[in-house]
Symmetry: C2
Subunit: 361 residues, 2 copies
Amino acid sequence: MNVAFIFMSDFAAARTPTSRARRNTGRTVLTDVAKRAGVSTATVSRVYNEPDKVSDSVRQRVEQAALELNWFPNAAGRALASTRSHIAGIIIPTLDDQVFASQVSGMQAAFATRGITLVLGCSNYDPQQALLQVRAMLARGVEAMAIVGEAHPEEVFDALRLYRVPYAVTYAYREGSPHDCIGFDNRAAFAEITEHLIGLGHRAFAVCVQPTRDNDRVQARVAGIRAALERHGLAVRPEYLLEGESSIGFGRRSLRAIWQSTGERPTAIICGNDHIALGVLREADDLGIDIPGELSVTGFDDLAIASELRPSLTTMRVDTAEIGRLAAQHLLDALDGAPSRRGHEVRAVLQVRASTGPSPR
Amino acid sequence: MNVAFIFMSDFAAARTPTSRARRNTGRTVLTDVAKRAGVSTATVSRVYNEPDKVSDSVRQRVEQAALELNWFPNAAGRALASTRSHIAGIIIPTLDDQVFASQVSGMQAAFATRGITLVLGCSNYDPQQALLQVRAMLARGVEAMAIVGEAHPEEVFDALRLYRVPYAVTYAYREGSPHDCIGFDNRAAFAEITEHLIGLGHRAFAVCVQPTRDNDRVQARVAGIRAALERHGLAVRPEYLLEGESSIGFGRRSLRAIWQSTGERPTAIICGNDHIALGVLREADDLGIDIPGELSVTGFDDLAIASELRPSLTTMRVDTAEIGRLAAQHLLDALDGAPSRRGHEVRAVLQVRASTGPSPR
DNA sequence: TTGTATGCGTTATCAT
DNA sequence: ATGATAACGCATACAA
């Protein structure tokens, strides 16, 4: 036995030169805590992952040691050993739009309660950037993903399926979508706005929307307007269907262009969102156009100022933070192996205010 | 020596039976790519980390194999082996405020160009949540951190220093701060607004700001106002120093309360931001108060609508996305070991518009 | 309840 | 330029 001991140390000595030194990152690791607490590494791990399986006294010793050494588990090590990253991802077009920011906010809060970190990616409305972001997130080992809209390269969804990462398409909801959707029906919402105006007697419309390219939500909105008008034998004249950046400036320019046009003037303008509608209202003020006497205007999103403007803006409200929460819950359910529903529809609610009224004609 | 070998093999033999099978997670790993490309794992790794050290032909074979197997490096594995996480963190009060959202946006973009993923945490203005978030991020192995403001528990900065994580305090800039700051001088900015009003002859002021508790930026703003007034022998009456949530509603309520007060009415109201100022303007409209004839109003942030309101709002503009970019650059420099400056000041620029005018008294 | 010994997927060191 | 293999920090199956 003696020899054995001698030999073992000998063995250790023999190895040492060949074996590389520990890379020594200098940081405190689980092993240090185990030593200090006088327990095995497994026990330390259990204290943080299966506390019930550890006796109170030992747990306290370990926690004390961890505190003294200022240690907490390293996420990369955990992820590697457990093959669970505790990371989820969300890809939105841009944070500069409040509706997406609040969606992220709602999702982050919901995930946080379950110890899941949300990683954010912005595509800037570029499908290729979205694809890159998804790949980066898969590399990070995201356990679940949310992505705004469904107008993305097929590779995006292929990759998600290939890696068996549960995902949800947010902000847009569409019957018959191949994806789990959490959001509202953009088409139906804009059909409702259009019907509201038709009900007020309007027959001549203009439409000012954000760029439709690579944006299924805006495309659906335009489709909803078209469908509602068609039902009444109406259509938007091509020269009154304007597309531009989501801004007050675009709204202003649009109204000016429409008013300078030689054709029959519209009596109602449907805007893709409140920012654009705001611009239209401001330009109308400058041009001396009476709202809603001469022209009705609608927005979308119900920004805080929408009800404060004079005239107040008729628009639609969507609880985007709720979309985020629901999406997070949906994904958590999927991770828990819950028999998941296909999605969740959130209602967009029409807020009729002073910017819409009976058609003058 | 013989014994030694016996012992060694004995030792090894003793191990083998105990050894469990590979846990097999089913996913494609670097080893698979190496096999397919007919190279070693080290070579595959090099292709992605030190491409110059690999011959063209080999690199192409590896890339081909990776493509065919749909493989990309696992981030947790990388992080563990390289002790670099390629993650940076930012902690903001809330995403619901555009100024922070755009800061995140700017930072994310800047980090992305260097392959660094930004992880976001929201403190909801709660110091304890901020501390928890920082800890969570350290566990994630963040390589750098940005945090809005400096009113945080000392443990926050202690932890950051202990783990040698370079960090920057953003949004606020203050001479003599112990931290690297990237932002603007809140105090100086509000002193400037105040001087603008004093220059217009105002002597009676009201102030409506966001909650000052745990918020060094707002505290600095109030201090700036105070200091400027003091220089002219002036002060805000306590009943005209109002504190409340950042909203149109608070602005409205504040003006109503001030106007109903029995004391001498102020001729100027300084608001903590544009939201509050917006509420004041709307309420003034309802109360029939002439702006700026009877009352001058100022905001902060220069929201897109600020210049569109009637009257347009005098306010200050700060490029918050630029703050994000600069913070990212500062942190990247620190990671690169660049001799770092202490911080970076961004200017807040006064936008004089129609809501401020000569004092009626 | 607690300890032992691997393995998680990659990088880094050393050797060739 | 390329290969072999030991870390990296932790979790877990299994043994005790």
